[in-house]
Symmetry: C2
């Protein structure tokens, strides 16, 4: 498989490290220091988007705010293969795909793996091993492109799972945004006694260290679903409290 | 230091394993299988409370429901030394101490360490290393007994910290009970999509696996403080949500 990767941060870098053994991988990152770092780690790095050349799949692993502009730049390149983004939200990708060129091939992707670290320095070839890799078909997905996306997910040890953009964003609201909001609230409410905390409290607040841009994207970029998921969480918490008597 | 330990579960077993190198340790557990297991691990085990003999400190590391009865049995034994329980709540210990024999020496103790595993099988000599070990003086604590309790905490690598029973129980409500209630509520509200969960959600719900007896004790046994801490948490969560716009 020939895979081009745009964005060599935690996710793109981990994909590159996971794939480079058995696949033809090329990577690009806007940041020269990241390119140098990835190059030193043995990734074949190019210094422009166009330099990525022909591929079966081009993965867009940029920060969420750059996903649509990057997809838009890539749809003009017929040799980029199937475009697969790895952002945490999928409605915007689905909406973009609907108005993208008819010959574009676009699949939304979201590996359910991550750490609170970011950048190529946190990249790990085993990051995706055994993790769900959600795949969201768009108006520009066909069987062939879904099959390429599935092969990519399996190639990094993940388990591809297909769902709609709406189901994806609802799922992520519950699995990522609510735990993040809860960790932020726990850290805030327990700040004055956190010095006495054991491992339970530390684990429960670990997500509060999520990078600010990702925090804003996960919470603010998916507001309606997050609010609905928070309502569901609050009502479950009420039930737990009711059992106290 | 001569240390007797009643209850060789996760906490008592870990204390025994941590102390046995440099101290004279004897342990007792109600359960013959636990005694056998601790004995095989090299702990000197006796088969009755009375068999524990003379000690500088006798640690009561039983389940919370047995702490007061065990303290009460030990106060009749002048050679048991300073009695130090390790339960997760301290008001009952403070109240018991007030009406205990005048010559009893009782200090409340609470190492802020633990895992969701229980029993001697989960015991680990490094469990307390670098962790806060809260010490609560009672009506039967004097400088000498506080000093013995502090030495015990340091002997297992923990950092002794003195606070009142009220502050302790309020702190534990925020640091242990609220994260536990939140984990239970997250697990409940995310149950239908948990199959897609990444490490963030798994960490955030890890405490939901807390053993039922400890869950009941932490939540139900400290109800007023837990309710107050949950109010504080909810209001912090409202603030986080308000930032979504």
């Amino acid at each position: 498989m020939r895979v081009a990767i745009v964005g060599l941060g935690l996710i793109g870098g981990s994909l590159a490290l996971a794939l480079r053994g058995g696949h033809d991988v090329a990577g690009f990152d806007n940041d020269p220091a990241t390119r140098a770092r990835a190059g030193s780690a043995g990734i074949r790095v190019v210094d422009s988007l166009d330099g990525l050349g022909s591929a079966d799949a081009t993965v867009v692993a940029t920060p969420l705010s750059a996903v649509i502009p990057t997809l838009d730049a890539l749809t003009t390149r017929p040799d980029a293969g199937v475009l697969i983004d790895t952002g945490s939200l999928k409605r915007d990708v689905a909406a973009y795909a609907e108005k993208s060129p008819q010959n574009a091939r676009i699949v939304g992707g979201h590996p359910m793996a991550g750490t609170t670290s970011s950048g190529f320095g946190g990249a790990d070839p085993d990051l995706f091993r055994g993790r769900p890799f959600l795949l969201v078909p768009t108006a520009r997905s066909d069987d062939g492109s879904m099959s390429v996306a599935g092969a990519l997910a399996r190639a990094v040890g993940a388990e591809p799972t297909v769902c709609s953009a709406a189901v994806h964003d609802r799922t992520v609201a519950m699995l990522s945004a609510v735990p993040l909001a809860v960790a932020l609230a726990l850290a805030k409410s327990g700040a004055d006694v956190a010095a006495f905390a054991g491992p339970g409290f530390r684990d429960a607040t670990r997500l509060a260290a999520t990078p600010p841009e990702l925090t804003r994207a996960l919470l603010g970029g998916n507001r309606d679903e997050v609010k609905a998921a928070l309502r569901k969480f609050r009502s479950a918490l009420d039930e737990v409290e009711a059992e106290l008597g």
